[in-house]
Amino acid sequence: MSDPNPVLTMTAISKFFPGVRALDGVDLRLFPGEVHALMGENGAGKSTLIKVLTGVYGHDAGSITLDGEPVAFSGPMQATEAGVSTVYQEVNLCPNLSVAENIFIGRQPRRLGAVRWRDMRRRASAVLARLNLDLDVGELLGSQSLAVQQMVAIARAVDVQARVLILDEPTSSLDADEVKQLMRIMRQLRDEGIAIVFVTHFLDQVYEIADRITVLRNGRLVGEYPTAELPQLALVEKMIGKELDALERLDEAAGRDLAAVEAGTPVVEATDLGKSGSVEPFSLTIHRGEVVGMAGLLGSGRTEAARLFFGADRADRGQLAVDGRPVTIRGPVAAIEHDIAFCSENRRTEGLVGELSVRENIILALQAARGWLRPVPRRRQDELVRRYIDALSIRPNDPEMPVRNLSGGNQQKVVLARWLITEPRLLILDEPTRGIDVGAKAEIQRLVVQLSDGGMAVLFISAELDEVLRLSHKVAVMRDRQLVTELANDDDLDADRVMRVIAGGAEQKDGTRHE
């Protein structure tokens, strides 16, 4: 900021994909020792800009300089060598390698050309310890939760002595504590003079750490602002390009009437449902029109619990009842027959079929439920898909675009749309707002309220406590793979109290609900 010489500039960058203008004359200036937030809606072109910078994509126009010298990286390898270290959106690591290797591959400590495994593991542990993470670095990365993987990716980038560090939505799958660690590290690196590009949809984080903000909209540059001079609301308006009333309306949804829904019919009741080695037996009832939030730390077993409802993993003890009748759910097929839908947290490996189009991905579950012999008529497909593309503002709004070409947030919306069109009675949402921009997030939250008002039961898992508190009738708290308690979402429930329960302090596992 104070330094007049930017370490990196991108000038008038344009990038075209077939039928899509992803970037159109975008500039970016990066000074040593600053945290620079890159902001924009889903599909605004943030990730593309980063990939152009590091040479993953070539660009159609514009120029890049590093330390005043024009550069054109042929790929991430060159970029890394030149001191540009990147964590791309979505975890891009090798699941088949150990945690330690994922941190060090390509720059392993060696002696006489031979990789020194012991040394590498030791150093990996040290790097992770810096992020306050202590795990067996010899374990396969693929067996770790998404959050841990994200942390490993960050550790890898941070450990390189880079001049430019780029973090594309590193915090989307982290919980508050991890985010705190990351912020600490970022500050430390900034103070060492490293320039950091930080992409996120969490405005609080931006205002906590960023020095300057560059805003993109629809592939175009909106402007570059010092954080101090851009109030939060103005930022949002710049991002979405219009006045924002959706955000305000959200708070109206808060304060949901638990008693009313509890009086209704239970849709799904789990009794001592559990799976050894995965989730301790738990009981949970979800009523018609009820939103049950699930809170807990990373790896507390929320996802695991949700998967049991859907049969994604098979429970080995306990009972599940739908509409009061005991059922055995052998797999997703059975769950869907009982009108249960599950929107997985990991869209890339468990959600989308990248090669198929947006349309096909959206109708996939509906089609599967109807059986292959009864294809959804094309007209109806188009109509449904169109409706949800509009409702969730999926962009680009081309139903025939392969879904892997969509930006991360838009992919998430596609998964959501898939389940919404099946009109389930119980909708399980595992981190549905991950990587989604403020506008769309508000949209989704409003949708959840609307659906539950219409009688749908929702199990809502999110790392953002605010969101959970805003939407749920009650909050189930998980700790150590146990459901420790259920908290009614009344007036005196706030984030602090939930945090205390999560941390295992205040409330005990008494099974009774705090009234």
Binding site: F16, F17, P18, G19, S47, K51, G55, V56, Y57, G58, H59, D60, A61, G62, S63, A72, F73, S74, G75, Y88, Q89, E90, N92, F310, A312, P332, V333, A335, I336, F342, S344, R348, T349, E350, G351, L352, V353, G354, E355, L356, E360, L364, A365, Q367, A368, A369, R370, G371, W372, L373, R374, P375, V376, R404, N405, S407, G408, N410, Q411, R418
Partner: protein
């Protein structure tokens, strides 16, 4: 990528454009070598000519490759098709050869049904190994590739079973409405598979399973059943191909029938644009691929290329097809042209990088 598409007519952008171009070039080369190559005449009320031969001879390959397309689309591979061809032909011919009246339509139909049934069982076996037990497809089907050929020879006792049955011959060399029956049959099966996959949701479901099996499972697709089905269909197609091949020469040769057909079939599928990694599949492409391969083989005979160099010739054509078909290859040349035409892209090569955002 988009710029040239607007410049050139849409046809050149079609996936099948380049394979078809190579096919036409091959035919043209033949026609130059021997102008009568393209001639199709009427002989005894049948169409007769090299072109007809090519289509007729490629019929069994088309069938096998169709089944292979589905298997590959689910992310698998089926090496056992050659053996299934041999077994189905052997069972059918053995049964017919044991009949007092080989020309009886009834016993031929029984023979076909038996052979078809056996082949379905073989397909089920493959499918079970892959989808239920979870063995890697290449090795699961390798088992039957080895053992199946033994089975075929066991059935024929290692001999070539010669039969003399007009109804059976019909499948290989008969004609309907001047067209070779084999062509009609291959066309019918192609249409059937196309209708089954594209008029229903089956095709999309198969592509979803091949594209991401776990995501498909979580979307409520019975991924295992789909995989199993693909292997059964593949075996069924191979069985019909087996009938054609054995009927073509009125004899079942447990050793030679369908030898290496799996490689040709996979090649046809790949030339047709289907990725071996699974996912999107293109039946039309597969048919073109099969025709191309048969044309290649027939060209060797028709142009009398020395058998000692025939393989070199084949290698050249295969690599040529792949190259012109590869977008990256064409992009290199376009860039060359663009460089001279106007300001070039500032960076080196644009990666066809399909990383999810």
């Amino acid at each position: 990528m988009s710029s040239w598409r607007t410049r050139l007519p849409a046809v050149t952008g079609h996936r099948l454009f380049w394979p078809v171009v190579v096919l036409i070039l091959l035919l043209a080369a033949n026609a130059i070598y021997r102008p009568s190559f393209l001639a199709v005449e009427m002989k005894n009320g049948h169409l007769y000519g090299s072109l007809v031969d090519i289509v007729r001879l490629s019929a069994p390959l088309i069938l096998v490759a169709l089944g292979m397309t589905l298997v590959i689309a689910t992310g698998g591979i089926d090496l056992s098709v050659g053996s299934v061809v041999a077994v189905s032909g052997a069972v059918a011919c053995l049964h017919i050869s044991q009949q007092p009246d080989q020309n009886s339509l009834g016993s031929v139909l029984v023979a076909l049904a038996m052979a078809f049934g056996v082949s379905l069982l073989l397909g089920l076996w493959n499918g079970t190994l892959v989808a239920v037990i979870g063995i890697q497809p290449i090795i699961a089907t390798l088992i039957l590739m080895v053992a199946g050929r033994g089975l075929a020879q066991l059935i024929t006792s290692g001999q070539i079973i010669t039969i003399n049955s007009d109804p059976y011959r019909m499948i290989g060399v008969g004609h309907v409405l001047t067209l070779p029956f084999a062509i009609v049959l291959a066309l019918a099966v192609t249409l059937l598979v196309a209708v089954l996959t594209r008029r229903t949701a089956l095709g999309m479901i198969v592509e979803a399973v091949g594209g991401n099996a776990e995501a498909s499972r979580l979307a409520g697709i019975r991924a295992r059943r789909i995989k199993l089905l693909a292997y059964v269909v593949s075996a069924a197609c191979a069985a019909v191909a087996g009938f054609m091949m054995t009927a073509n020469v009125s004899s079942a040769d447990g050793n030679a029938a369908g030898l290496w057909v799996e490689l040709d079939a996979i090649l046809a599928v790949v030339i047709g644009g289907t990725s071996l990694a699974g996912g999107r599949f293109y039946l039309g492409g597969t048919v073109v691929g099969a025709l191309l391969i048969q044309t290649l083989t027939t060209s060797v005979y028709a142009m009398n290329i020395d058998p000692q160099t025939a393989l070199l010739f084949k290698a050249m054509v295969v690599i040529a097809v792949c190259l012109v078909q590869a977008p990256a290859f064409r992009a290199k040349f376009r860039r060359r042209r663009a460089m001279t035409a106007g300001p070039a892209a500032p960076t080196g090569e644009q990666r066809k990088e399909q990383v999810a955002a």
